[in-house]
Point group: C2
Chain length 226, copies 2
């Protein structure tokens, strides 16, 4: 969890030559391409996720992201096209089928709801994932792209696996209730350090969430939902 304000350049071997006769202006940063391998796009993306999730899209400036990444703002346009482009990259949840928490859900046995809770709590403690999910949830009300990303995440990584194994009626209705509940707890855990949720261990959170999640997915619905 990189929380430094310092640019943290990778290296900087030796000043090649100080032939930069830039008059009386103060020297800001070295001109031209940096030596060594290029990790800048990733650094930008990481800090963008962090800042978007902490302050929201509209309150985050490209300048502050660039500063945190130790880079000129124009580089963002170079790599991501625009602020919007960077945002859409940032809300792409960095998950693949072999992400540990996901693989573990698939390979483990027992109550699928409890296994889902375990997976979910681990995902929210994964760097990158937590920021992307926070941003998605918090912007979803105002932002179409975020809303779509949320639906995609919900079906792909939560709904599909669980419903396949559980086979319940009204899967979408139940899923929406359960995911809303889970998101509410995850957000309180992340953004309200005074909240009791923040001081619970992963295991305690799982133990707390699981019964309610199971109730939502399995208890019979009222008659009017035929």
């Amino acid at each position: 969890m990189p929380q430094t304000d310092v640019p943290a350049r990778p290296n900087g071997p030796g000043a090649p030559d100080a032939s930069n006769a830039a008059g009386a202006s103060g020297a800001h940063g070295a001109l031209g391409r940096r030596p060594g391998p290029t990790t800048t796009a990733q650094a930008i993306l990481t800090h963008a996720r962090e800042q978007f999730s902490r302050r929201g899209y509209a309150n985050t400036s490209l300048r502050s992201i660039a500063e945190a990444a130790g880079v000129d703002p124009a580089l963002i346009a170079h790599f991501f096209g625009s602020k919007r482009g960077l945002f859409e990259a940032a809300i792409e949840v960095p998950l693949s089928p072999d992400t540990p928490a996901l693989a573990e859900f698939r390979s483990s046995q027992g109550d699928p709801v409890e296994r889902l809770a375990v997976m979910y709590v681990k995902l929210w403690d994964t760097p990158g994932v937590a920021q992307a999910l926070s941003t998605i949830v918090l912007e979803a009300a105002h932002d179409t792209a975020a809303a779509k990303a949320m639906a995609r995440f919900m079906y792909t990584w939560v709904g599909q696996p669980l419903v396949d194994e559980l086979g319940t009626d009204h899967p979408e209705l139940r899923l929406r209730m359960m995911v809303g509940f889970m998101a509410a707890i995850a957000l309180q855990r992340r953004f309200d350090p005074e909240s009791m949720f923040a001081s619970l261990t992963q295991e305690q959170v799982v133990a707390l969430m699981t019964p309610t999640m199971r109730f939502m997915m399995t208890s019979p619905l009222p008659q009017e939902f035929a």
Copy 2:
């Protein structure tokens, strides 16, 4: 639910006199104080609530609020001091003990959880209240004042009445779970018109929420929560 883009001035009797020799510039709006009673501060507040809730604080400009209210932006500074001042007025939930939905909760009988659900759904369909609550919930992650407003609302209008009558263990833990769940449903109902929640009647939503809410408030917690 005023959704017009038109200013909708209250009246405008007759042009008093066209002695405004303003050169060649186009005449914008009449100078000086308007005739008739003053409702401007309320109009500003109403449109501010609507826009803050729909687009978020940072994405809403004073100019657009003023335009929707049919008023000059400087008037906002006059009545509310600053954008921040307007925001803090906007997240003040317009409720008093004799608001119908609240009074009805107190005077009615039966399962307190179901009565709470009824009250809550009605509150979220009350103009002004819905906008204020949406804004509070959506900004709470980034904004201290909103977070405090959320806690205040939760304890004053939900927790206190319910726990008094229910008398359960770990009231805060249970309350936070339940309120998170309720907020998640209310937000989906308001901001995702494609969601199935949006097309349910108030009664159906109540029937859907109540069992889960009751489960959260009454089911025994796992052992580790002594």
